[in-house]
């Protein structure tokens, strides 16, 4: 694998068995380079989200081979994959999925506390930095359910960044946001890919959003077009 390829998918095939057997992904092969900002688009049911969850290592029920950061993740155990995700992949979802009973700061710190490569003080420092970067330094100690939708999504992004993952994956990260917040999130992603060399793979419905990305992969009926 070339040095600047961070993700390599080789003939990824996946079936749904409910309500009847149906091929969602039809032997997809592609590569993603380091610091690339990639948009996955396609109509509803085209398989773009399904593909993202396969790439995220959370969905292991597929055929083919997936390599991330020069490591073959296909066939790993759930616990191995969980540890791998913790270190190498950050997630931003359409809904923020923060832990509502924790402060914004604690939510951001969670993945790093799990990774435990740094001391708690260092993690806290870093979480503050990320929150400031996203303009949330004043909200750090508030409970997340007291924040607005846009703020919550930014907290979720800070959380995705805390372990400096190689790849950040977003499942319609702006799907629930207004235009202004969408632009804010997009700019953050853009900055991450350009200045920090982090790879971003985002599923989106938003054509404006997609058109500003480095590269677009469009899916239709489980195939790349």
């Amino acid at each position: 694998m070339e040095k600047n390829i961070v993700l390599k998918a080789e003939s990824i095939t996946k079936y749904f068995y409910e309500p009847e057997k149906f091929q969602v992904l039809k032997g997809l092969s592609f590569e993603v380079r380091k610091s690339e900002f990639l948009a996955l688009i396609g109509k509803s049911g085209s398989g773009k989200s399904t593909l993202l969850y396969v790439l995220s290592t959370m969905d292991t029920d597929y055929e083919g081979r997936l390599t991330i950061n020069n490591r073959v993740v296909t066939g790993g155990t759930q616990n191995e994959l969980a540890a791998f995700r913790n270190e190498h992949i950050g997630f931003v979802f359409q809904f923020h999925y923060l832990l509502p009973e924790f402060s914004a700061l604690e939510n951001v710190m969670l993945p790093a506390m799990k990774l435990k490569k740094r001391s708690k003080a260092e993690i806290e420092e870093k979480a503050y930095q990320h929150l400031s970067l996203l303009g949330l330094q004043d909200q750090a100690l508030k409970r997340v359910n007291k924040l607005s939708g846009g703020q919550q999504q930014r907290v979720a992004i800070a959380r995705a960044l805390i372990n400096d993952p190689t790849i950040i994956m977003g499942d319609e990260p702006t799907g629930n946001l207004d235009t202004r917040n969408t632009q804010i999130v997009f700019d953050i992603f853009k900055e991450l890919s350009k200045e920090r060399n982090q790879t971003i793979i985002a599923v989106t419905h938003d054509d404006d959003f997609a058109s500003q990305c480095d590269r677009i992969i469009e899916l239709s009926d489980g195939s790349i077009i």
Binding site: Y53, R85, L99, L110, K114
Partner: protein, 413 residues
Amino acid sequence: MLRSINNRISQVHLTSNVKQTIVAMLGVTFGISMYVFMTGFMTGVNNAQTDLAFSSLAHIRIYNDGPADNTNIAKKIYPNDIINLRNAKIIKYTEGIKNAASITSVLHNQPDITDITTQVNINVFFKNAGNKVNGVICGVDVFNENKVFNISHYMVQGNWNELKYRADGIFVGIALAKNLSLKVNDNLNVLTSDGVTRNYKVIGIFQTNVTGVDKTKAYITENAARQLLAVNQDYVTDIMINVKDYNKTQSTVDKVTKLTPYKVESWQMANQQLVAGSNLRDIIAVAVSLTILLVAGFGIYNIMNMTINQKIKEIAILKAMGFSGKDVTQIFLTEAIIIGLIGGVVGMGFGLFISKMVNRVPFNVSGLHTLPMAYLPKDYVLAFLFGLVTTFIAGYLPARKASKIDPVTIIRG
């Protein structure tokens, strides 16, 4: 640090919905306090019953069991012949224990025997002029009798030790005294089956609360009883023994049986109804308390299940962020165990409180003043452990379910 982040999540879950946490804890508290109370109460009842029983019952009794069954004595010698024997009579057999001193000296060397006393029991008629009541005179070794039966504790009038100095003195049961219209210092006439009569002076009245005893029994000194029977100094009818643990009489019985030709009988053999009653009470106590604990366990199970259903998205996101199934199990199991620990400690305290309250309820029947209660640390520890095991199981099942949640299905909806 892995520990600390999982624990931090558990802590936040427990403290953010305090009401629910308290309800779960109350389940455990109630189960454990009921367990503590029930076992304490049952043990108390059993102890009261035992105290009552041992006021007239020794742990082990040695006595002469009477002659063997000789209804067809010739059959023993000619087993194959047909023999018709009518009106078989026992000409002579040895009554009582003739060599008491040699037996008691051997018994004194047994390490598990704590107290020994000898008795000369005689079936008699008590007479006060025309009024006749049959009963038993018990000739006692004043000092040792008190050690085995704690009889001085049951004296209503008179002083037990006075009997030592009064060869003509007699203690009578309270009901017997009433039936014969006797007071202290009155005379009591006694008639034996051999036709001997003698007068004694009533010097005290006792009440054991065992009606059968209070109605028929009287105490005189051992020597006075021997005099009444015209037997020698070494004659006794019963040797009464107390051992260290009244529940473990069998080994002593086995040992002593080898040392004497007489019948050796433990209180359990002689009073199987007492043993059965006490065992049944124990079983009921355990059954009731375990049922309560089980119900409490289901309560915790339900609450944990509910919590996990509420937090299913959080669990999914934790797993997406890299928390393993083991971490998720740990988080929820920790919550259950903390509920169990706190609920358990409070439960022991509350159980003690209920026990103390019930222990004050007046209950004036057969020598008791309040409802009996035992406070055994063993019961408290056991209740606590049971509570912990119950919460562990009740928490583990939902926690395991949580650990198996597939994040993709939850997040994609």
